[in-house]
């Protein structure tokens, strides 16, 4: 025994070799698996790279890039979309700056160290988005999008700087400014002879439908979550019925309802556009899932909190509003990001009822005379898939980060 350890220590392999032995060749079947999977990795990697850089005919994406991004939005009015984007970026920058400033102030007050996120971290967190934007700009045939994107970055950084250095009094009301900017971003598209939902398309529409769906669904979902936790049997029954009914049917049945049956449920003479009806259907669908998420958050708040509130003599609604909900909603944020991701992916179903979203653009591009019958779905579908993947993957990582930061799931 002693002799063997001695020889082993005499021939101690280098750390790299030891890593290889421990992680790849620690027993016979792992060695076999390593060989098989190593070959698989090399083959897949090689064919993927060859396909991306040599085989794939990206011309179809180049020609239709605008169609993929904004659908049939009138081409000489594209400036509206850029203005709207500027406002959104400004709002996000302002919000981020103000939030960082308040967090720093709070940390200072509590005497805790405050670590600001560095540029390097941001790149590490958002590399898929950065790569996607670079790829999209590379596909563009003019310089306008690149200049505009650089402008967006500048505005975003400037807005963040402004948010960071707002006087404290104004900072408390920064959210008003943010809300105004977001409303302005919508208005830039719609007001002054602009264009409503039905003229939007592509990625732009996908993102807007997702955001609108989740924002509209939240109040309704909160209501149903509170209803499900209520002590009133009838209210509970109604909420449970609604939630279980919606969760029991696929989204597509609700979209079919939105497309073909909702118009019969509205009062005679009242008419909503197709996309608006579908957003209503998405809202009704998402509300049930939001309700279940919020219910999870409500259940996570210890009972002692409610009891403490009651002991202070607060009425029930104040206990809910001031003590339970703030804690519950904080715990729900990661789950809500998850809901946002799944809604983002689910918007692809809109193609079935004839909405001009990403997948619809893909099939339209393939039916254009110059690309018809060339089997280019092999190019456009992966392109669309990458867009979805970048969005969903980045958000899911952010949600995991938030989960860790908020300490949810660790009790």
């Amino acid at each position: 025994m002693a002799v063997r350890t001695e020889t082993a220590s005499l021939r101690r392999p280098s750390p790299a070799l030891r890593w290889v032995r421990e992680n790849l060749f620690n027993n016979w079947y792992n060695s076999v698996l390593t060989v098989i999977f190593g070959a698989l990795f090399i083959w897949v990697g090689f064919s993927l790279l060859r396909w991306v850089f040599f085989r794939a005919e990206w011309e179809i994406v180049r020609v239709n890039l605008t169609l993929f991004m904004v659908g049939r939005f009138p081409r000489d009015e594209l400036a509206r979309i850029w203005v709207s984007n500027y406002m959104i970026v400004g709002a996000i920058g302002l919000m981020a700056g103000a939030a960082t400033a308040s967090a720093a102030a709070a940390a200072k007050e509590a005497g805790l160290p405050f670590v600001q996120s560095k540029l390097q971290d941001l790149i590490q967190r958002f590399w898929p988005v950065l790569l996607l934007v670079a790829a999209l700009l590379q596909f563009s045939r003019t310089w306008t999008p690149t200049i505009m994107t650089v402008g967006m970055v500048v505005i975003g950084v400037a807005a963040r700087f402004a948010g960071l250095h707002l006087p404290r009094v104004i900072r408390r009301y920064a959210w008003v400014l943010v809300a105004l900017l977001l409303i302005g971003a919508y208005g830039a598209l719609v007001w002054f002879g602009g264009f409503g939902w039905d003229d939007w398309g592509g990625l732009h529409l996908t993102l807007f439908v997702t955001v609108a769906g989740i924002i509209l669904a939240f109040p309704l979902g909160l209501l149903f979550a509170l209803g499900r936790r209520s002590t009133l049997p009838l209210v509970r029954l109604l909420s449970v019925t609604y939630i279980e009914f919606i969760r029991g049917v696929p989204l597509i049945t609700l979209l079919l309802m939105g497309a073909f049956a909702l118009k019969f449920l509205l009062p005679p003479g009242m008419d909503l556009s197709l996309v608006s009806r579908l957003v209503v259907a998405i809202m009704l669908f998402t509300a049930a899932y939001v309700a279940e998420n919020v219910r999870g958050g409500l259940q996570a708040v210890p009972k002692g909190q409610t009891e403490a509130g009651q002991a202070l003599g607060l009425p029930a609604w104040k206990v809910m509003r001031l003590i339970v909900l703030p804690q519950a909603l904080r715990a729900v944020i990661p789950a809500m990001v998850g809901q946002f991701i799944s809604l983002f992916k689910d918007t692809s179903l809109l193609v079935v009822v004839g909405v001009f979203e990403l997948l619809a653009v893909s099939s339209i591009a393939n039916n254009q005379p110059e690309f018809l019958g060339k089997g280019l779905a092999e190019v456009t579908l992966p392109f669309v898939a990458v867009i979805y993947w970048v969005g969903a993957y980045t958000m899911s990582r952010e949600s995991r980060r938030l989960e860790k930061k908020l300490g949810v799931g660790e009790r």
Binding site: F37, I252, T253, F264, P268, K345, A377, L381, W389
Partner: protein, 394 residues
């Protein structure tokens, strides 16, 4: 206690607008009346609008001829709509019954792979999960249909015919299938009896094991009994089913089941998509098994396979069952996405019927009802199963 009761009876009741009992009843009445009013309002709008447009408000249209044909089946367009709805439900079931075992196996393998001690296997499993989980299932379905199944198969003129059992081409895909002969009904009865008998044997072996400790081998006993019934019944009744092979004559395929490329595309896509979610559940459940269990198994010198098979996985599956069944439900609901590539499951059938001018509200109610019935019965099953599988802890 007594003091509290006395003070309660001693004080006068608060005025009714502050009396909790009254307020509770009022709140419920308001909620109930509000919901009824909303439903009544929507219902009256519905009937008004439908009558104004001359659309029927009852379910009588179900007896009218469907007016569509279904590729890959002998459905005639003169058959009533109710028949095509039943066919749609059957097609949905055909996806679910084949898909669920496949995705469970694939997902479990990948979930175990994510925890492998082999770095490459771990990375491969992670790449699989992170890729598929983050793209829409509809996109996966369309991609497998257009870019994998249709693009990789040869034209029908030079179709592949491996073993003379299959015909694979990009226009039609055909596999062998059974055709029912005489006595097929009786044979199905025999099979049902076989299932009952094998369950009985299973229970008997379990009791035997509990009483005496002899190895139960209930899986082999159960399967053996069922196979016995199946084989003996087959020869006693005399070929109740025969195998029909697809044959290519010119450009037409006869026999077997043909025209099922859409079925395969949906099956493949949804299985690989849902497996990515199942893998995460399996991984989480394995990690949730107490570490001491693994260490105990190691201390007993069990091999890594034995450790997984007899110690970790049985406990992991107990944790995994509720979320797993949730994924099965998601699979069933996602099967509705087959509408995008023309596989005639229930949603596509309803969609086509609406396109043919049949009343949409009633059809959508039937569609939702079908999914709901399925989901709720599965939920009930989960609850029963959960109660039985829960560990008894004091």
């Amino acid at each position: 206690m007594t003091v509290a009761r006395e003070t309660k009876t001693g004080t006068a009741r608060p005025p009714f607008w502050r009396d909790v009992k009254v307020l509770r009843i009022v709140a419920q009445l308001v909620a109930g009346a509000g919901s009824v009013a909303l439903l009544w309002y929507l219902g009256s709008n519905l009937t008004t609008n439908l009558t104004a447009q001359g659309i029927s408000t009852d379910f009588g249209f179900l007896d009218q001829p469907a007016g569509v044909t279904v590729p890959g089946s002998d459905f005639r367009s003169s058959q009533p709509i109710s028949d095509i709805l039943v066919l749609g439900i059957k097609n949905t079931f055909a996806l679910v019954i084949v898909g669920i075992p496949l995705l469970t196996i694939l997902g479990t393998l990948i979930g175990i792979g994510r925890l492998s001690s082999n770095w490459l296997v771990r990375k491969a499993a992670t790449a699989y999960v992170e890729t598929l989980r983050n793209i829409p299932p509809l996109l996966v379905i369309i991609f497998t249909n257009t870019a994998v199944i249709l693009a990789s198969l040869p034209r029908i003129q030079e179709a592949w015919q491996p073993f003379d059992l299959f015909v694979l081409s990009n226009r039609e895909l055909a596999v062998p299938w059974f055709t029912a002969g005489d006595g097929s009904g009786a044979y199905l009865g025999v099979l049902a009896a076989g299932v009952v008998a094998s369950i009985a044997v299973w229970i008997w072996r379990t009791r035997q094991f509990d009483a005496t400790g002899t190895p139960h081998h209930r899986f082999f006993w159960g399967t053996g009994v069922f196979l016995l019934f199946a084989v003996v019944g087959f020869f006693v009744i005399g070929n109740p089913y025969s195998l029909s092979r697809p044959e290519l004559e010119g450009l037409v395929i006869t026999g077997g089941i043909s025209n099922i490329s859409a079925y395969f595309a949906v099956l493949l896509a949804l299985v690989i998509y849902t497996a990515s979610h199942v893998a995460e559940i399996v991984r989480g459940s394995i990690q949730a098994v107490a570490k001491g269990q693994t260490e105990a198994a190691n201390a007993l010198a069990l091999s890594s396979f034995q450790r997984l098979r007899f110690v970790v996985l049985p406990q992991a599956f107990r944790i995994a069952i509720p979320p797993l069944i949730n994924q099965f439900l998601n699979f069933t609901k996602n099967s509705s996405l087959a509408i995008a590539i023309g596989y005639s499951e229930i949603t596509l059938v309803v969609f086509q019927a609406i396109g043919n001018g049949q009343p949409a509200p009633q059809l959508i109610i039937i569609l939702m009802g079908a999914y709901l019935l399925f989901s709720l019965s599965i939920s009930l099953l989960i609850n029963i199963l959960n109660r039985r599988l829960q560990l008894v802890t004091n």
